[in-house]
């Protein structure tokens, strides 16, 4: 609505230093060296409110209320000049709005000044440091002679009851197996293609349990199809896997 350039000419304002619209308005209004007649008050404030909103610091309700007051202020004269021209639907007369704005600015200013005072006071008190040492151990516990009942024994029984309850089985439905049988089959076949025989642990011992299990499963499949045989001399001993030549099936792990 108004030229931004004029605003820059009139006063050099760093909007970032103001911490709220009342803060901004107060400092503009009370600046001795500038005449408010020269300043695009409405635009400055509107721009500032916009900036706050961009930064997520303005609550819509607070902003609306504030802008209504400013708008009413800026309408003041025209309303005075055109008495009874149109009955506005807003409940508040501009003169009334200005009064409220003044009251709000004064209220704000009271807490701004109180805040400054608190801030200074805080500075003057920061040098006092308090001890934060824990109590010596002998003072940390209640003495048996003076102790009184403060806890309910049922609390213990309840806690133990909770512990007796086995926890629910974790829901694994969202997990999908990441080891595929097909893939393990092709791994086994390619190993057997290069070597006639191999030791299972040498080859797959460093894989995780799941991968090893699926590989065993794949091995069973190869055995069933007659592509490989395997033997294990003793429980938990090494497993030797051998490629089956034609006509040599089912020598199997009976060895």
């Amino acid at each position: 609505m108004w030229m931004a350039s004029r605003l820059d000419l009139d006063l050099d304002l760093d909007l970032d230093v103001f911490i709220g619209p009342f803060d901004l308005l107060l400092s503009i209004v009370l600046r001795e060296e500038i005449s408010l007649l020269e300043v695009e008050l409405g635009e400055i404030v509107a721009r500032y409110v916009e900036k706050l909103e961009e930064e997520g610091e303005l609550e819509l309700e607070v902003a609306t209320e504030f802008l209504v007051l400013i708008a009413a202020l800026l309408e003041l004269k025209s309303r005075l000049m055109l008495p009874g021209a149109e009955e506005d639907l807003t409940e508040m007369e501009p003169a009334e709005a200005v009064e409220e704005l003044v009251a709000r600015m004064l209220e704000y200013r009271r807490y701004r000044d109180a805040g400054r005072a608190l801030k200074d006071h805080f500075e003057s008190q920061r040098g006092f440091l308090y001890r934060s040492a824990p109590l010596p151990p002998e003072l940390r516990r209640v003495e048996v002679e003076t102790a009184e009942q403060v806890y309910e024994p049922d609390q213990l029984a309840a806690a133990l009851g909770d512990l007796l309850e086995p926890p629910p089985r974790p829901d694994l439905s969202h997990l999908r197996a990441t080891v595929s049988l097909r893939r393990r089959l092709s791994v086994l076949r390619s190993v057997l293609l290069n070597r006639h025989t191999f030791d299972f642990d040498d080859e797959f011992g460093s894989e995780d349990r799941m991968t090893q299990a699926v590989t065993i499963f794949a091995l069973l499949d190869l055995y069933k199809k007659g592509e490989a045989v395997w033997e294990q001399a003793e429980a938990c001993g090494p497993i030797t896997v051998r490629r089956v030549q034609a006509g040599q099936e089912h020598l199997a792990n009976t060895a």
Binding site: L37, L58, R79, V98, R112, A114, A117, K119, Q125, L139
Partner: protein, 213 residues
């Protein structure tokens, strides 16, 4: 087991000195011990109960101790804070203390925090929207950081579900206030009639000018 050796005081070996113009009386000594051990303000009533003496005896002992710990005499001072007594180190040693304990200085209050704290301190209990209304700006981050620093705390919910705040005991401690009554009189911050007139006139002038544009 860790504190044997600490437990056995040198005391028993050395006969107590009796000269003692400069020594404290027995009850004042006890009060000093108790304040040393406690890191919260202690009321005179609790001291009296702990020492099993009458309140006026404690008051005399506290007066003796206060005189003895008057500023500039020792490394400790006694302060009345939050309705009780507490020992603090003399501010003179702050820099050395921070070096020794490698504790950074607490950050100063920002202006937004200071304004918000003033509103809470003077109007408590006060709801968050009221703080925003007075400041003209959402005060969420100031409220949160004051809360985080433990200077204000939630004191329930308003009928409309907004959080209500009040200052905490820590506030009184770090501001060295002996209760909220010790806050500076808020009328000190009231605008003078001249201020008020000036603001009103300048605003009206701006309004008139604007509408002529």
């Amino acid at each position: 087991m860790s504190d044997e050796g600490v437990k056995k005081p040198v005391l028993e070996e050395v006969p107590p000195l009796q000269d003692a113009e400069s020594a404290l009386g027995g009850l004042a000594r006890k009060v000093e011990s108790l304040l040393f051990l406690s890191n919260q303000p202690v009321t005179e009533m609790s001291l009296a109960e702990a020492c099993e003496v009458e309140l006026d005896e404690i008051e005399r002992a506290v007066a003796e101790l206060e005189e003895d710990l008057a500023p500039g005499r020792r490394g400790l001072v006694i302060r009345r804070v939050g309705g009780g007594l507490i020992l603090a180190s003399d501010p003179e040693s702050e820099t050395a203390a921070r070096r020794l304990l490698s504790r950074p200085r607490t950050p100063p209050l920002t202006q937004a925090q200071a304004e918000t704290l003033a509103i809470v301190a003077y109007l408590q209990p006060v709801a968050r929207p009221e703080i925003a209304r007075i400041r003209g700006v959402s005060s969420e981050s100031a409220v949160n950081s004051l809360s985080e620093r433990g200077l204000i705390e939630e004191a329930g919910r308003s009928r409309f579900g907004a959080a209500i705040y009040r200052t905490s005991p820590l506030f009184e401690k770090v501001f060295g206030l002996d209760g909220l009554e010790a806050l500076p009189d808020p009328s000190r911050f009231d605008p003078t009639p001249d201020d008020e007139r000036e603001i009103r006139e300048r605003l009206l002038a701006a309004g008139e000018q604007r509408s002529e544009a």
